[in-house]
Symmetry: none
Amino acid sequence: MRVLIVDDDPLVSGALKVILEAEDDMESCDVASGGNEAVKKALSTRPDVVVMDIRMDDLNGIDAAEKILKEDKDIKILFLTTFLDDEYINRALGIGASGYILKQECATLPSSVRAVAGGQIVFGGKIVEKLPDLMNRTEKFDYEEFGITDKEKELIELVADGLSNKEIADKMFLGEGTVRNMMSSVLSKLDLRDRTQLACFYYQKIKP
Amino acid sequence: MRVLIVDDDPLVSGALKVILEAEDDMESCDVASGGNEAVKKALSTRPDVVVMDIRMDDLNGIDAAEKILKEDKDIKILFLTTFLDDEYINRALGIGASGYILKQECATLPSSVRAVAGGQIVFGGKIVEKLPDLMNRTEKFDYEEFGITDKEKELIELVADGLSNKEIADKMFLGEGTVRNMMSSVLSKLDLRDRTQLACFYYQKIKP
DNA sequence: AGATTGTTGTGACAAATGTCATCTCAAGTA
DNA sequence: TACTTGAGATGACATTTGTCACAACAATCT
């Protein structure tokens, strides 16, 4: 397996080279010291995996990765960085990188490189702790705090699905009038004006 | 490194056992054939990693993982499944699992297990192709495709802010009647019934 | 000029929505 | 038993909303 190591700090890239070449399935670890050099080397030598820092002076890692992937989607990019930054993670995922792990966690670097070479995606544990905030935060809204009952909660979700009062009434086995009253109650508890604001509230505050 | 393999198909769990035990750093791969057994074995033997299927008859993988993690957050859970399902991926991430890869991609299983044991998170490549859809899609909705004009787009955003027709009219320097007409036009273009559904549509499809 | 088109607006209408006072009924509770 | 409480329902009411037909007007094209 052939790996290209990219870091503008020779100390770091040297250390990584040692770590990786200690593994017997990883020979010939090439090294680049900046984004531009990384792009050039990656496209000329076509390594299996590029292990790259993000913050670099001449061309940052994300942009470099983008250029590489544009030419060759088979080259796997594994970001190895000091920073835990939402924006970076987001962009890294967006351009189709194969992983994002922290330098602190580089003990497992060889395993990660292998997994990435095999087509898997690898994230550092610390990073994934942030993922739920970005994509999965369901249900951390505190209905209790506003005195919202279970039925009212159900009603809110149905409104957020675009149902009319009549449809909600049918689904909850209640009269339409009752639904209207519940709606009224919910709206006043949340200090909203109408069902549309309730739907907006749901998507913005409850299940963003 | 100690691994617990969970799959209700003995053929699969047997194959996995062979694959993993071929690695010299993985001994004693225990096997469970269902969710309940998995929980019991995981908590009694405390393996480093649990490789688990999701669909199982008695107790599904997600729920089993949840029980295990509740007792011991250090046990890493790696889901190995046949299905590529948003809902599963979402839940798996939500409960703090360490990975989710497809059975088709199991060639890299040993690497993945090592990476997971080291605290990294691993996703199958096919799965990550879906991630940007879930967390990174900003503004890729194609208004053009539905023949939505710029003004109509503005109206949609105001509706998604919970404004009434009157308020929208004031903001856009139009008559309220005009806003109503535009609303009518937008709703029919998007095949929706009322402003609340429009708000839902906005948060679900346009700016999720 | 005459015709076409698109934007903006009006008026009328039915339906849906939100609010309020009030009633019923079952389940506790003193 | 008598009292309170809460969920569910009703009916009345004012607003808001969505639809439709159509008109006024400017810009553009023939």
